[in-house]
Each structure stands twice: as structure tokens, then as C-alpha cells.
């Protein structure tokens, strides 16, 4: 039967055409499938990208424009922004209000009421903000979760995201299966109809030998493999969450958290040097000559085991060459300028930047007025220190893009006078071409800011 059919096909079609059509048909079928697949992929990708863009934009815009006077969830100089939709008459109203509050106060009753409530401060006009940008800010405000839960939320925030992608993945998988079934059904139906019409077709190829599917499968594998390979390669050498065991269980929680010792007491060179510096043993001994035992809440490691604080202090005494019994340093009988038996503590270095990166703590602490926690996380809650940030270049650059410098205001004399040389930015700010100067504006994302 089959052979017969094929013969008929041969007889029916002119030889030349026959030879040409089939491959052409094949090609075009592949092409459509690939195009469709690609299109849907791009669509999904662009959707997710767009989402991210908006979210990020909203935060940046909020921080750049609103954060001076507003908090999302608490009244500040101005009202808390969360829940705006329950208070404000309409979204259109919000657009108008942000673009020109003075006019609204003059013409709108609710606006007048608002202004009275928050007297004498009047909202600054943001004529430059576009509707989409305002939307982004409002979305950010609505989605805002208070940072108090940020540390656990660092994981916590990641978790719902992962859930989302899992959901999307499952959805995609289901859709793909449905699509596959539909394609099969379609081909079966076509085969049936073809048979009905008497058009002869070859025996259907099982899907595992179908070149279309194989090709698609290979492409998918390639994409997934590539994604993981590249991500893995990028992650090589990154040591986020690195938490080595140190020679002494030194708890930042006890020192900086419970006892409220200023970071700069021990890491004083952070404001003078590129290195924050690990305090020398004599700095520890300034307090620990008196503080001989640990009496605070029990210190518990991640694995649940207890740390005996007093024992750890004894370790320190050993390094320092201090005799707690006599309350004095060991004599220096070998004349090396240090008490006998003393030795410097060989801490395990946690934050390792590559050699080709120049990082300066004092630049960030003294000039940039950053908090230690910005990069090191809630160090005052850590037992043994773990690396909080991934210290990747993207992480650095992002912050440089968003952070504002303490720009000099010629009229008020506020800000760092160094920036008075940026004549152009002064004029731009005056003319409302820009509203703040970021680190990026003054060259903070250029290669030789950090690499030389």
C-alpha cells in the first residue's frame, strides 16, 4: 500500500518539482517552528526584563526624587506614600499634583487640605517626571516591604522570586506539553485528512527521531547549558556568604551589636586608608585587660553548638602574651620588642578583591559617607563574619550609578566644596536639567576609577 502510494505520488508530480518541494517544505516547516519558538522566547524574555526594569527604575527614581522627604511606609517630612490609592482622588490627580503642586493647592480642595496638614513644607514640583516614571515610583511604593526584615529577607526576598520562576517554569512546561500534543494532534488530523483525500504521505517519523524535535531539543539544551556555564564562570572566585572559621571566635554581635562599640574604634584606618584594617592585638587588649570573661547571652554557632566566650578571651591572652593571673604582660627576655610567647593573630581574610581592583575604604567612609553596613550587611548581628555582598563589579557599578555625591551647592554653601569645580553640573541643576549628581556623573564608573 505504502509503496503504491509513493509511486502514485511520483507519477502525479513532475520529477523536478518533486525533488524540490519536499526539502523546501521541510525547511519552511522548520523555519516556522523556529521562528515561533524564538518569538515566544523573546516575548517571555522581554516581559521579564521589562518587569525588572520598571521595578529597578521605581526604586532609583524614588530614591533620587522622593526619598529626601518621603518614606514609603512612614510619615517623614511628607506623608507616607504607601496606600496612596486609598487616599488620593485618582491617578490623574497624582500626576498633576507631582508635576505642579502649587497650582493644585490653588485649585483643588483635597490638595489644599493636604498642604494645610503638612504646613509649612510645600511639596516640590517635579515637572520632569513622566507618567511612566510616576507609575514606576507608585508601583515601588506599593510593593515596598520594610527593611527591618531585610536581613532575613535577603533570603526571603529571593525565595518568592524563585517561587515565581518555578511557577513560570511549570507553566511553560505545561504549555510546551500542550503545544506538543496539539502539534501531534494536528499532524494526525492532517494525515487523516490527507488519507481521506487520497494524498499519500510517508510513514510518520516517531518524535524521538524527528529532526525538528531533535533540533529544538538541542537548542534548548544548548541555551540552558550555556546559561549555567556562563553564570558558573562569572561566579568563579566569588565568595558571597563565605564564613570561614577564625582562630578566635570573635563575635561582632557581642562587640558592635550588644556592646555598641563603634566600628571605627577597631577599624580606625577605614577613614584614613584603603584598608579598613584588622585591629592589632594591643587594641583588643585595651579593653580585654579588664574584660576577662564573657557573661552575656550564650553565643551559638550556625550549627547550634555553643561558644564559650571566656575561652575565646583566653585565646586572645595567649596571642597577646598576657598573663591573666598576674595581670601583666610576659617579660621580653628574647629582646624582640614584644612579650615572650606573643604572636600576631593570623585571621582568615574574608573579603578578597582581585589584585587588579583598587578599593579605598576612606573614600567610601569619609568622602562618600557610607555606612559599613551598606557593603558588609548587618555586621552587628553576625557572630563570625560572613561575606554579605558578592563584591562583583556589577554590584559596585550599580551602587556608583545610584549613589549621589555630596554635591556642592553654590547658593547655600552646603556639600563638599571639592565639587565646586563642576561648573557644568551646577548650571544643569540650576536649569533643572539634572536634579542630583551621582557618582557615575563624576566618573565613578570609568575603568580607571578602580583599575590601574
Amino acid at each position: 500500500m505504502l509503496i503504491y502510494c509513493q509511486y502514485r505520488a511520483l507519477l502525479l508530480l513532475p520529477k523536478k518539482d518533486f525533488l524540490h518541494t519536499r526539502p523546501d517544505n521541510c525547511m519552511s516547516r522548520y523555519r516556522t517552528i523556529i521562528t515561533k519558538a524564538l518569538a515566544s522566547l523573546i516575548f517571555i524574555l522581554s516581559l521579564s526584563l521589562n518587569n525588572q526594569l520598571f521595578a529597578a527604575d521605581g526604586e532609583a527614581l524614588f530614591k533620587a526624587n522622593c526619598a529626601n522627604c518621603h518614606k514609603p511606609d512612614a510619615d517623614y517630612t511628607g506623608p507616607a506614600l504607601k496606600g496612596w490609592s486609598t487616599r488620593e482622588p485618582s491617578k490623574e490627580w497624582v500626576y498633576k499634583w507631582i508635576n505642579n503642586p502649587a497650582q493644585m493647592i490653588a485649585s483643588d480642595a483635597y490638595a489644599k487640605q493636604l498642604a494645610d496638614k503638612w504646613k509649612p513644607t510645600v511639596m516640590t514640583a517635579f515637572a520632569n517626571l513622566k507618567k511612566e516614571e510616576i507609575d514606576a515610583i507608585l508601583k515601588y511604593v506599593d510593593d515596598y516591604a520594610p527593611p527591618a526584615a531585610a536581613t532575613p529577607a535577603a533570603g526571603g526576598e529571593g525565595a518568592p522570586e524563585q517561587d515565581n520562576s518555578l511557577l513560570l517554569g511549570i507553566l511553560t512546561l505545561i504549555l510546551a506539553v500542550v503545544g506538543l500534543i496539539l502539534v501531534q494532534v494536528n499532524s494526525n488530523l492532517r494525515k487523516l485528512s490527507d488519507e481521506k483525500e487520497g494524498i499519500l504521505r510517508g510513514e510518520p517519523v516517531p518524535f524521538y527521531r524527528n529532526k525538528t524535535y531533535l533540533m529544538a531539543g538541542i537548542l534548548v539544551l544548548f541555551a540552558i547549558g550555556g546559561y549555567y556555564t556562563i553564570n558558573g564562570a562569572i561566579g568563579l572566585g566569588r565568595m558571597k556568604d563565605y564564613q570561614p572559621v577564625q582562630p578566635i571566635y570573635y563575635s561582632h554581635k557581642v562587640h558592635a551589636g550588644v556592646n555598641q562599640i563603634s566600628c571605627l574604634y577597631c577599624h580606625g584606618s577605614a577613614q584614613d586608608s584603603k584598608h579598613a584594617g584588622i585591629p592589632s592585638v594591643n587594641v583588643c587588649m585595651n579593653c580585654h585587660m579588664a574584660v576577662k570573661e564573657y557573661k552575656g547571652d550564650p553565643i551559638v554557632r550556625e550549627d547550634g553548638s555553643q561558644v564559650n566566650g571566656t575561652d575565646e578571651i583566653q585565646k586572645l591572652y595567649k596571642y597577646a602574651g598576657w598573663n591573666p593571673a598576674t595581670k601583666s604582660y610576659n617579660p621580653d627576655e628574647n629582646h624582640d620588642g614584644a612579650p615572650d610567647g606573643s604572636q600576631p593573630i593570623s585571621w582568615v581574610k574574608i573579603h578578597n578583591l582581585p589584585d587588579h581592583v583598587y578599593f579605598n575604604h576612606s573614600q567610601h567612609i569619609k568622602v562618600g559617607k557610607q555606612q559599613c553596613q551598606t557593603c558588609h550587611g548587618n555586621i552587628q548581628e553576625m557572630g563570625e563574619v560572613a561575606q554579605f555582598s558578592d563584591l562583583s563589579m556589577g554590584w559596585c557599578v550599580n551602587c556608583h550609578r545610584e549613589s549621589k555625591v555630596d554635591f556642592y551647592n553654590k547658593e547655600t554653601g552646603e556639600g563638599n566644596k571639592y565639587y565646586s569645580i563642576y561648573e557644568k553640573f551646577h548650571n544643569d541643576i540650576k536649569n533643572h536639567k539634572m536634579d542630583s549628581v551621582t557618582v557615575e556623573n563624576i566618573g565613578g564608573t570609568e575603568c580607571q576609577k578602580c583599575h590601574y
Partner: protein, 1074 residues
């Protein structure tokens, strides 16, 4: 502008085929090591595919293994007790003094985390005023020299064994000294002008009756000392004041490069060479010499003569000035004319004139003294109220010492800071004589030629580990304080002398009178070691320990300088004149000179200095017989000026024919370097090379990997005339038929005939200041479309990027740049620039970020020389940036052309597209920065010289600047404008909220410059030095400005004070004749 105007080689002068081809071949591709992989070439071999797969497999596996390795655990070890003045990561600066065999330069040393890493000049010194030399810059590397001796030694058979403690060494010496009987003790040192050390030496000598102190300079100034003794009654050198001289005549004195105190003189000289205003006045500099020296290259008018004619020229000059001598006949009409001109100028500026002479013949120096009397130099440009103490060595003392030792009349020899077995004319004989001395002790820091002949070795500290003082010019003291604890078990020479003098308690009974200018003339000092002694000495001298602290902080203690004339006694003149008349001359004469890099050879094992191209010859790593093209014709039969093919055959390959130069039966075989501007009868040979241990097998370990094999020792050619050593002689020379490769960087960065230099004469400049750059400015406006006027903004289709805050810029004054190359070494030290070794320099792979281009111009036989420092021009419209496929090089908003090593994939497109040829490619792993340590080893000796391994030693690497990345193989690098310093200065300014603080920033090259030729700063700031320099519109030009690459480095054109037509006028002149 004609192509012939400025040239670097004979090939360029002739526009030969090979030259043209070589300029097209940017990277000398035919010399790539890849060719050596197989004889057939990479792809024609028998199994290229298999090999390819093998390499591919190996590299994949290796990369996988390397990548999958766990992150190494790094340790952070803080201090046990942090010193108050050390903040890890913040550099401290301490004043000290670079001392080396009499040379003394006040410096400020950068110390980072306890390690000295960079030398800077000390602005507070009134002598050097912040200037440094290449040798001072490089000396920080000597501290980390792996050949330094690590503990005291005692000879045992042929080898040395360690003496475990200083106490036992002292005991050994005490018993040895007890056995010498009544024979005298001789202390043999370089010139010492440290007042406290002199006092300690006197104390020591007082203990051994009949003993003496012999001072020995490797390159002697005895002739001057003798002449001054005869004429002025003082056996010393006067204090020169070039800044007061309007006319300077030098008879072979290389006072900007190597003569007496070049940094001080450069500073003074430059003061009168700066062109100020439209109607400037600059000093006039005549130079008579046999070879082409650095100073000669800077002269306004230069004349060459045979080395033996120096005396005759001095006499002729004296006669011309009206001195009571009969003028000898000068055969050369040009020289004669030069003498007439020089005499006229000297008289015209009488009282502001100066004649200096580099000869070590006391008779010639007597004549020069007489000349200086005639022109009123005594008391105006020559100060006799202070003396220059940096050279006091006596040649006759040294010769007598050698004879005494040979005769067995010396009981003990103590050698400190000198290496006479190497630098003495008959070193072998001296070595044999030292062997006859019962007790010979060396205090030298390395196992040099002299030390290995001594029986006991007690290494002294490097100056960066030492306490001390110096008095280079009387009344001008400079302090030495240690920057680091001694790296090895070494002890200060002075401490040793003190220990051996008495029971350890040194009271200065007989104080040396070095203190005439100070209140307290008698210094009572004591102490067990030199540190205490010095502190007591200076506290007593200055009155309080606060003053001593201040002296250490400032680094200098200076008396108010006074100026006085010496009393001239011309009695010796007639005798001197008659002796000069009897000078022998020959058809071939040798003149021995020092290079600004290696000098007298004491720093020969310094890779930075060895790799520093000589400013004039541009040769690295070797000395050679430098001859004129005329001499080459007779000696080698090569005509490089007129015969293109012979010029090419000579110039294109590094292999140069060698000649055997014979003086008084002693010969040296040297490669020939043909250079214009030399006298036709002269062969010039540099001293300071050819260091070697007595046992050749020991050379690498003892004198060092950098010094071994670099050049030949020319000291044996030095003669002795009964009173002084003579550094020129009648010689014989013959071609050997051998060849020897010279690593010359001369044509590595050719400007291919494009106009890069502008110069004019003072007369023409005064007449029409705009004329020099007129043509260029017209050319620029012709490149613009009609109606457009702004070349910068409208001469391009690219957008104009604003530089809103700072725009960094540099201006280099070609008039004051002398080519001394201190900047090149400073750059190397600051930026961790690799040393590549001779083999790689031959392949044009040198890594210097800053090179000094030397151009010849004018008369091919006696050309003018122009030096042009050339580094990355940081173009605002940079051609390198838009060809980089990975954006590894791009532009900053401050006008920096940024190079990001980690992004670079090594396509070298940028280097190819750079019109200034300043980008450097790491052809090999010069730093050991690759992931695989053993990658260098297979290349040892073939592609990588031993010196690269020396530089990668853990000890040597301590000199690296931790703020600058060490580059790995396969990336491009180039001048960054010392971006680490710029960022640091900006940070300081931000911390202090004061934008004017960025005016303080100095790039390494600018800081090192002894003539302040370089200014740098923020161009947007009208008060900055660079903005002020660029305001000189008539001289300010950018190299290749017409390309619209918009460089951020500008130059100030050269103005020579000469009657000749030079620069653009010269061409007009020629055209008028044609």
C-alpha cells in the same frame, strides 16, 4: 616640512628601503618567538594538526583544572602592636640622602607598609631643589638586590664561610689586627664627606699610628684637585653656579650627565634655559668635545676635536681672551671659529661666564682656572667660599697604596664603598697586591671584585637602611635616616670602626673641622654604635634634640650660602702650557666616558639602569666603541651616510661588527656603534660595564645577573701620567670580523618623518615669535571647512565630549629637557614597568612607558640633537580607543586614555593605530603574573634573560608599588599619567574639601625631573602649572596636531641661542640657496 629634517638613524636620513620597510612593520613580526616553535613554521610542520589538538587539549584541561581549584584561603595578619605612625595602606614619606661613592642627593623616600618603594627629590635642598638622577631613582632597587651579602663572611680557601655573630667577627678581627705588628693600617674608601664618619675615621686612625685614609674615586677628579691646589691653595673642587652664567663653555665636561654633581648643575643650568616672555634671554652654551655627550647634545653650538686637543683648545681660548700664553695652532677651521665665538661671548658677559673642563689632566685644569680668572668667573659663577666635597680621591695616593701593598708594607686594608679591583686601571695587579696584605676587610654590600679578594667581609647597610649625614657642598648638610630595618645581618661601617677603635666608647678628641659655619665648632659625641653617635653629634652641633628631629624631618641643614672669590696664583700656568704643548696625538684616539645610566659601574647590577637606553646612543645593556661615520669608513669599510645598502646592512640587524681597541698593549673587543657628531679620530667607550667575578662561574651569583655579560670593562684602558689617571689615549683599532648584538631602541618608535619637533634660534624667535608655528597653525585652519574656526570642536565629525570637572594635561618644555632619563627610571619604579632583558629589547619589546626620543637635525656630520620625551598623549579623540574590539581602552571624563588590563585580549590593534607608538605589549610573562608558575622556565636564556628571573625574585619584588597592577602576558600597557597619584590627590582634595589641592599632584616623571621641564595639572584650572605653561602660545604645540587626535600632552618648542639658522629658518635658508 621635509622628511629629512629630523632623523634618528642613517636609514631614516637616507630614506633607505629597509628603513621604510621597518617602519611599516610595526611589531617586528619576523622576530616573533612563534617562529621558533618549529623550523618549518607553525602550520607547515609534519604533524601540525596533532600538535594543535595536543595544545588545545592541554590548555583546555589546564584551564579546567585551574578554574575548578578551590579558592585559596588567604590570611590577614595584623600587627601585634601597631606603631603609631604606620597606617597599613598609607604611604609615609621620610627625608634621607642618596649616597653612592661621593654622590649625594637629598631625597624623600616613599615608604609603604614598612618598605621603601620610591625615591623622590627633596624640595628643601637648595642644591638639588627636588631634582633626582636616574641612578638615585634606581637605587631603591639596589636595596632589594639578590646579590647583597646576608651576613659577615670569612675566607676559607677559595670560598667564604659565614661568621655567625658580629661579636665573633669582632673577636676575629681583633686577633688578626694584633698580628700585623707595626705595619700601617689603610682605610680605602670612596670620597667621604659625611662629617660624623670622617670624625670616626680619624678616631680609628689615631689608634693605629702610621695608618692612613686613602680616598679613591672610580672616575677621578685628581687633575682638578691638583690644579686648584696650585692655583687657589685648596685641594678641592669649588662650588659652581651655572645659574649665574650667561655664557657657558664646556671643554668636554658632561655637567648635565655625569660631571661632579649633575643634578645640582642641571637645576642651575635650566634656570637660564627657560624661555620667558616674547623677548626672552637665555644663556649661551658652547661645547667642545670629542664624543657626543648628553651635555654636548644640549649645547647651542658644538664643536668636535681629538681628545688630545683639549689642552690646545683651552690654551687657544685663553690666548684669545688675552692670557699670557702663546696660542697653539688649531687645524680645524670650525673649531677655531668656535673658539673665537666662545671667547667673544665670554668676554661680552664677563662676570657672568663660566668655563668648565672634564679633563683629569691637571695642566689643562690650570689653564681653565686661568681662563675663569680672565672672564671674571672666580667669585661670581665659581664660589670658593664653599667647596664641593663629592670628589676628593687622590690618584697618586692610590698608586702608592698599590705599590705599598705589593711590597708587603701594608698591615691591614679596610675597603669601604669602592671597588678598585674592578675600576683600577690595573685591577689584576691590584688584586694580587691585596692578596699580600695580611688583614684585608671589605665593608661592601655585595661580593664584588674587590670584596672577593678580601679575607674578611662585614657587609655594611644599604643607604636606605642607614643612619648618616652628608656634606656634598660645605655648609650644606643632608641627613640620612633608615627607611627599613636592615634586611640582612649587616652592620654600619661606622659602627664597626667604632667597635674596633676602643672599648666601644668613642669620644671625639680631635674633631674634624667641618663645622666652621656653625656655632659649636667642637663636637663631643660618643656612643656604642653609629646611630647613637650620630644623634649625639648632631644634637651637640645643632644645640638641641628638637633641632636634630627637625633636621631629620627636613632632611637638610643648610648654612646661608656666601659667595667669595679664591686668590688666584698663576705661577704654574707657563709650565702647564708647555706640558700641554707636548701632548701626544694619534690618528685614532680613545676617550673614556660614563653613561648617565650605569655611571662608574657601582650600580651595574641594577636592571633598571641597564635597561635604560643611553639618551644619546639609545643602546641598552652594553657598552661599545662609539665612532663617527667617517671613522667607520676607514675602520670597517662601511659608509653609512652615502651608501644606502651598507647603512641598511649595518643598521637593520642588532649584530654589529666588532673592533679590537688597543691602548698601551691592553685591548678590548667592542661592537661598533656609528653615531654622527663624533670627532673623526675618536673612539668613545663607556666605563662601568664588564663587571665579572675573578672566577667566571661565580659571576651570576656574585656580581649579579644583570651586570654579568653586560658590556666589556674599559677601565684597563685608563692611563696614568705620573700625577693623575688619564681618560683618553692614543689607540690602535682593528676590525675583528666578529659580530656582537647591541640592543638599541633608537628606531623602535619611529615618527616616520612626520613633523614632531619644532625649534628655532633665539634671534629669530625674538624677531618674529609667531613664525615658528605659523605654518602648522595655517595647516590646521586649512583642514577646517569654510567659516569654521575652532579646530578642536569643528575639525571632526565626532561629538565633542565635555570634561566637566578636571581635565588632566601635561606640558613638556623641550628647551629645558636635557634627556637625562631620570624620568624614565622614575616611571619604571612608580608603575611597576617590567624589565625585559637584552634579548627582548633587541626584538623591540621593551616596556618603558616613557621613552626619550633623540632626533638629529642639521649638518649630518655635526648635527644638533633634540630630545623629546614621548609617552601616551592621552588623546581626547584617540585612534587607539575606537579600534579596540573589547573596549579595554577608552576615555575618561577627565581626559585620561584608560587602559584596562583585565579586559585586554591582546589584539594589539590599538598599538597599531597609535601615531605616537607608545603602547607596549607584554609579549612574554615578564612579571611571573601568569597562573602557571613554570611558564617562564622553558624560555630561560632563549627568550627571557636571567635578569627577568632576578626581577621576579621575592626579594626584588618587594620594590613593587602595591597600588599598581602587575601586568601579565598578552596585554597592552602604556603611560597612565600615574593615575594612582591622580586618584590619590583627588581623594585628598575631597577629604579636605579643597579643590585646589589637586594642584599638588606630580606625576613620577615630573617629580624626578632635575630641570622642571615637565608640568602637569588640571587644564580647566587656569591657575595650574600646565595651564600657565600652555599660555606660551608661540611655543606651545601638540605633536601631530593635524591628525585631530587632540593630545593632552603639549610641548614647548625648543629655542637655541645660536647664530646659525635652525628649524624652519634653516629650511628657508636652504631653499634660498637651492
Amino acid at each position: 616640512m621635509s622628511n629629512k629634517k629630523y632623523w634618528q638613524s642613517f636609514g631614516e636620513l637616507n630614506q633607505s628601503d629597509a628603513y621604510k620597510q621597518s617602519t611599516e612593520n610595526e611589531f617586528n613580526e619576523d622576530l616573533l618567538p612563534v617562529e621558533e616553535l618549529s623550523k618549518e613554521g607553525l602550520f607547515d610542520g609534519s604533524t601540525p594538526r596533532r600538535d594543535f589538538l595536543k595544545y588545545l587539549g592541554f590548555s583546555t584541561a589546564a584551564a579546567a583544572i585551574a578554574a575548578s581549584c578551590e579558592m585559596p584561603v588567604r590570611r590577614a595578619v595584623p600587627y601585634l602592636q601597631r606603631p603609631d605612625n604606620v597606617i597599613p595602606g598609607v604611604a609615609n614619606y621620610y627625608a634621607s640622602t642618596y649616597v653612592n661613592g661621593g654622590d649625594a642627593i637629598s631625597v624623600v623616600v616613599k615608604q609603604r607598609d614598612g618598605r621603601p618603594i620610591k625615591i623622590e627629590g627633596n624640595d628643601l635642598s637648595s642644591l638639588t631643589k627636588g631634582g633626582t638622577s636616574a641612578q638615585a631613582q634606581a637605587s631603591v632597587l639596589d636595596l632589594y638586590d639578590i646579590t647583597r651579602l646576608r651576613h659577615p663572611l670569612q675566607k676559607e680557601g677559595k670560598d667564604f664561610k659565614e661568621v655567625t655573630s658580629f661579636e665573633s667577627f669582632d673577636a676575629i678581627i681583633a686577633s688578626a689586627m694584633a698580628g700585623i705588628g707595626s705595619k700601617p693600617v689603610v682605610l680605602l674608601t670612596s670620597t667621604i664627606h659625611s662629617p660624623s664618619t670622617l670624625q670616626i675615621i680619624n678616631n680609628f686612625l689615631a689608634k693605629y699610628p702610621g695608618s692612613r685614609h686613602v680616598q679613591y674615586d672610580a672616575v677621578s677628579y685628581s687633575g682638578m684637585l691638583l690644579a686648584n691646589e696650585a692655583c687657589y691653595g685648596k685641594r678641592s673642587l669649588p662650588d659652581y653656579h651655572f645659574e649665574k652664567a650667561q655664557t657657558i663653555v664646556s671643554l668636554g665636561a658632561d655637567f648635565l650627565g655625569t660631571w661632579i654633581s649633575p643634578v645640582q648643575f642641571s637645576k642651575q643650568y635650566a634656570e637660564n634655559r627657560k624661555v620667558k616672555g616674547d623677548k626672552p634671554s637665555i644663556s649661551r652654551h658652547f661645547h667642545f668635545e670629542s664624543m657626543l655627550s648628553l651635555t654636548g647634545s644640549n649645547a647651542d653650538d658644538r664643536y668636535t676635536h681629538k681628545p688630545s686637543e683639549t689642552g690646545a683648545i683651552a690654551l687657544a681660548l685663553l690666548a684669545k681672551l688675552g692670557g699670557a700664553v702663546s696660542a697653539p695652532s688649531i687645524a680645524d677651521a670650525k673649531v677655531k671659529e668656535g673658539i673665537d665665538k666662545a671667547a667673544a661671548e665670554l668676554m661680552k658677559t664677563k662676570g657672568a661666564s663660566l668655563v668648565v673642563c672634564g679633563s683629569n689632566d691637571s695642566n689643562i685644569q690650570v689653564v681653565v682656572n686661568a681662563i675663569n680668572e680672565m672672564i671674571g668667573a672666580n667669585g661670581t659663577t665659581i664660589n670658593w667660599s664653599a667647596t664641593n666635597n663629592t670628589r676628593k680621591g687622590s690618584d697618586t695616593d692610590m698608586v702608592k697604596l698599590e705599590a705599598d701593598m705589593a711590597a708587603g708594607n701594608v698591615g691591614a686594608l679596610l675597603v669601604y664603598d669602592c671597588n678598585p679591583v674592578y675600576s683600577y686601571a690595573d685591577g689584576k695587579k691590584l688584586a694580587a697586591s691585596i692578596a699580600k696584605v695580611p688583614v684585608s676587610i671589605s665593608f661592601n654590600g655585595t661580593m664584588d671584585e674587590t670584596t672577593e679578594q678580601c679575607k674578611y667581609v662585614l657587609p655594611s647597610h644599604h643607604w636606605l637602611e642607614s643612619w648618616g649625614d652628608a656634606e656634598p657642598v660645605s655648609g650644606q648638610f643632608s641627613m640620612i635616616q633608615p627607611l627599613i630595618n636592615p634586611l640582612f645581618k649587616t652592620r654600619a661601617f661606622q659602627t664597626s670602626l667604632m667597635k674596633w677603635t676602643s672599648g666601644g666608647n668613642n669620644t671625639a678628641a680631635a674633631a674634624v673641622d667641618t663645622t666652621a659655619k656653625f656655632v659649636a665648632p667642637v663636637i663631643v659625641a660618643n656612643g656604642n654604635d653609629y646611630e647613637t653617635y650620630l644623634k649625639n653629634y648632631w644634637t651637640a652641633k645643632l644645640g638641641s634634640s628638637d633641632m636634630w628631629d627637625k633636621a631629620l624631618q627636613d632632611g637638610v641643614v643648610e648654612a646661608v650660602p656666601t659667595m667669595a672669590a679664591g686668590t688666584f696664583n698663576g705661577a704654574k700656568l707657563a709650565e702647564a702650557a708647555s706640558k700641554i704643548a707636548a701632548t701626544k696625538s694619534g690618528n685614532i684616539e680613545v676617550v673614556l666616558y660614563q653613561k648617565v645610566s650605569v655611571g662608574n659601574g657601582s650600580q651595574a647590577n641594577n636592571p633598571w639602569l641597564q635597561e635604560l637606553p643611553d639618551p644619546v646612543s639609545k643602546v641598552t645593556w652594553d657598552n661599545y666603541a662609539m665612532v663617527s661615520p667617517e671613522m667607520a669608513k676607514t675602520l670597517l669599510g662601511i659608509d653609512v651616510v652615502n651608501n644606502q645598502r651598507e647603512a641598511d646592512a649595518y643598521e637593520v640587524t642588532p649584530e654589529k661588527p666588532t673592533v679590537k681597541v688597543t691602548v698601551n698593549g691592553k685591548s678590548v673587543e667592542l661592537p661598533v656603534l656609528i653615531l654622527p657628531g663624533l670627532n673623526n679620530a675618536t673612539i668613545a667607550v663607556a666605563l662601568g660595564y664588564g663587571r665579572a667575578s675573578a672566577d667566571e662561574n661565580n659571576s651570576l651569583d656574585r656580581v649579579g645577573r644583570a651586570a654579568t655579560g653586560a658590556g666589556k670593562n674599559a677601565y684597563p684602558l685608563v692611563g696614568f701620567d705620573g700625577a693623575t689617571f688619564i681618560y683618553n689615549a692614543v689607540a690602535a683599532a682593528e676590525k675583528t670580523g666578529n659580530v656582537y648584538p647591541l640592543a638599541q631602541t633608537q628606531v623602535h618608535g619611529s615618527s616616520e618623518g612626520r613633523p614632531v619637533i619644532y625649534e628655532t634660534s633665539l634671534t629669530n624667535f625674538k624677531k618674529n615669535p609667531e613664525a615658528m608655528l605659523k605654518e602648522t597653525h595655517e595647516e590646521l585652519s586649512s583642514l577646517l571647512a569654510d567659516g569654521k574656526t575652532d579646530f578642536v570642536k569643528e575639525g571632526t565629525i565626532y561629538p565633542n565630549y565635555e570634561k566637566p570637572g578636571i581635565k588632566w594635561g601635561m606640558s613638556i618644555d623641550l628647551n629645558t629637557c636635557t634627556g637625562c632619563s631620570a624620568c624614565v627610571v622614575a616611571c619604571t619604579a612608580e608603575n611597576n614597568v617590567s624589565v625585559v632583558g637584552k634579548i627582548q629589547v633587541q626584538r623591540a619589546h621593551e616596556m618603558h612607558w616613557l621613552r626619550i626620543d633623540r632626533y638629529f637635525t642639521g649638518d649630518a656630520k655635526n648635527p644638533d640633537v633634540v630630545f623629546q620625551p614621548m609617552m601616551c598623549q592621552h588623546c581626547d579623540n584617540a585612534p587607539c580607543e575606537n579600534v579596540c574590539p573589547v573596549a579595554a581602552t577608552n576615555h575618561s571624563s577627565e581626559g585620561l586614555n584608560q587602559m584596562t588590563y583585565n579586559r585586554c585580549i591582546g589584539t594589539r590593534y590599538c598599538a597599531n593605530n597609535c601615531p605616537y607608538k607608545v603602547r607596549r605589549f607584554n609579549w612574554l610573562d615578564f612579571t611571573g603574573a601568569d597562573s602557571f608558575k613554570d611558564n617562564q622556565e622553558p624560555l630561560r636564556g632563549k627568550d627571557l634573560d636571567e635578569v627577568v628571573f632576578q626581577m621576579n625574585d621575592d626579594l626584588t619584588r618587594m620594590v613593587l608599588n602595591p597600588d599598581v597592577t602587575v601586568r601579565s602576558r598578552g596585554v597592552i600597557e602604556k603611560c597612565s599619567f600615574c593615575v594612582q597619584r591622580l586618584q590619590e590627590s583627588k581623594l585628598e582634595a575631597k577629604k579636605n574639601q579643597d579643590p585646589s589641592m589637586v594642584r599638588n599632584v606630580k606625576t613620577a616623571c615630573m617629580q624626578a625631573c632635575p630641570t622642571n621641564a615637565i608640568s602637569f595639572g588640571n587644564v580647566n584650572d587656569k591657575e595650574s602649572e600646565v595651564a600657565k605653561a600652555r599660555a606660551d602660545k608661540n611655543r606651545n604645540f601638540y605633536v601631530l596636531e593635524q591628525l585631530h587626535v587632540l593630545p593632552n600632552v603639549s610641548y614647548l618648542a625648543k629655542v637655541r641661542n645660536t647664530d646659525r639658522n635652525i628649524g624652519a629658518e634653516e629650511e628657508k635658508h636652504e631653499e634660498a640657496h637651492a
